[in-house]
Amino acid sequence: MAHMGMKKQRMISSVVYHLLVAAFGFIMIYPLLWMIMSSFKESSTIFREAHRLIPESFHFENYTNGWRGFGGYTFGTFFKNSFIISVTASIGAVLSSAIIAFGFARLRFPGRNIWFTCVMMTMMLPFQVVMIPQFLIFKKLNWINTMLPITVPYFFGQAFFIFQNMQFIRGIPMELDESARIDGCSYYGIFLWIILPLIKPSIITTSIFSFMWRWDDFFGALLYLNSPSKYTLSIALKMFSDPSAQSDWGAMFAMSTLSIIPILVIFLIFQKNLTDGIATEGLKE
């Protein structure tokens, strides 16, 4: 009987545990669910029925209304711009960071520690300190209102990704490099043919993070993009939400929902890479 009692007690505690954790999880994602659900409500009723999560009937016209965009450009343009910029900057950031990481992790050269300190420094440096001169440089180059200022700088390595790749490369046995050297392979060959294929998991993780961060980037777009034809999603959504522009909240939530779909899809597919990446390296925004 005592045994039965304990079993019962354990079951009750388990049920209470799951109820609490699940309820709290629901509260955590409620704002998101509300946004997604509101995008299907009739625009004028969104705030009258803010307390209701599920719409009385599903309306899809918010999506067609919102897609029309503004300034003569549809959200198709903004999606395309976001996509091109995110992919370009990410390719640059991921590849350059892998190359740089190999140099720091595997090769000995005078000044290595000083340069590595510089890498760490860029991680802690507030962007505001370089923001204005960078803006002036890009202005001189006539790069304002192009995607160059928000893509080119990523081709020179990003501290978090360099660090992440270095940790990964250090886990690869040195013997692999050494045997390749005996066979006459140069450092460049070792990187290209031995290390690069082996750090694929790390490349995938950094690619995902890079893409998500670039996709969400608002500040760069705010600084450098000033005509609707060049807008990325984040700046377009901000403009779209300004009360002076319009107050069709249904359309607003519809476009907001669309804008986070790529991130949600990546999250669902690569969940494990993301959680492992965070857990091992402390990568985060």
Partner: protein, 313 residues
């Protein structure tokens, strides 16, 4: 094999060819990090020097920069009450949101250590806000949650609490709306804590139980001390980020009402790109750098007293 060394040795004596030069370890090292060095010089060092110079000038982007000595710095602390306000708003925000976020992350991580079939699902749900929380879509949605006719008031009214105030329109509550948005994104810190918790050997707890220590004692004597390096790492990174907060203040409240959410980075942006007072904005940026440097140094020096590194690895 032994017949060949003669010509090869002769070849070595010649001036090194380009490929031989490139194959030296030190040269190859610099080749690999050359991208970083170029980027570092062009996008960090030169702009840093330029911004330090500009901080001592009056520069409005159109004319030439006029040297005015430390006038910008003096003005900041003596004649610009809006600046001092932005400083206090940012300190308040960082000192409230970072501890709250980390406390939340730690508590939830502790709860998550209980293994079950759905733990992975819970972890993802709690992590999701961190993934999308920085987006404009979420900021705009957050604004509507706390509007006078938003979800929060609707729910309160449904619970028959009569609330019609606009949470972002009131001086007392606006900053808390932004703090809540930050705390909501505790997921990434939680994952780092979870990784730290996993590294604590189970045998420690077993030994503690044998000695008659309860769960609470176990937490304060084993978990917490062994987790201090992880807490420290989180604290440093989140504090740095906290001082640089911009997006939520810009998108949700525009620094309003009555400058109660005027973050440092937001005021700096307004000075630079609304007023085109670029010299002043550069001076502000350098003060921010000093503040962040001091905070980091303070955390590091305090760490000797409370961060517990387990043996030598």
């Amino acid at each position: 094999m032994t017949a060949m060394p003669q010509p090869r040795r002769a070849k070595r004596k010649k001036p090194a060819s380009l490929s031989e030069f490139l194959c030296r370890e030190s040269v190859a090292g610099y080749m690999f990090i050359s991208l970083f060095i170029i980027g570092f010089l062009v996008f960090t060092i030169i702009p840093m020097i330029a911004s330090l110079y500009l901080s001592f000038t009056n520069y409005n982007i159109l004319g030439d920069a006029k040297w005015i000595g430390i006038a910008n710095y003096v003005k900041m602390f003596t004649r610009d009450s809006k600046y001092l306000k932005s400083l206090s708003v940012t300190f308040f925000y960082a000192f409230v949101s970072v501890p709250l976020k980390l406390l939340m992350a730690l508590i939830v991580a502790m709860i998550m250590t209980r293994q079950s079939r759905v733990t992975g699902l819970y972890r993802s749900v709690y992590y999701l806000p961190s993934i999308i929380g920085g987006s404009v879509a979420v900021a705009v949605m957050w604004k509507q949650l706390f509007a006078s006719d938003g979800v929060i008031n609707s729910v309160l009214q449904a619970l028959s609490i009569n609330s019609t105030k606009s949470w972002i329109g009131s001086r007392d509550s606006a900053i808390w709306v932004l703090i809540l948005l930050t705390v909501w994104q505790f997921g990434s810190s939680m994952l780092i804590f979870l990784a730290g918790l996993k590294q604590i050997p189970k045998t420690y707890y077993e030994a503690a139980t044998m000695d008659g220590a309860g769960k609470v004692r176990g937490f304060f004597s084993i978990t917490l001390p062994l987790l201090t390096p992880t807490i420290f790492f989180n604290l440093v990174m989140q504090t740095i980020n906290g001082f640089m907060v911009f997006n939520s203040g810009y998108i949700i409240t525009q620094g309003k009402p009555l400058n109660s959410t005027l973050f440092y980075a937001l005021y700096l942006y307004q000075k630079a790109f609304t007023d085109y007072d670029m010299g002043y904005a550069c001076a502000m940026a350098w003060v921010l750098l000093v503040i962040i440097g001091l905070m980091t140094a303070l955390l590091f020096s305090s760490s000797r007293r409370w961060v517990f590194y387990q043996g030598a690895r």
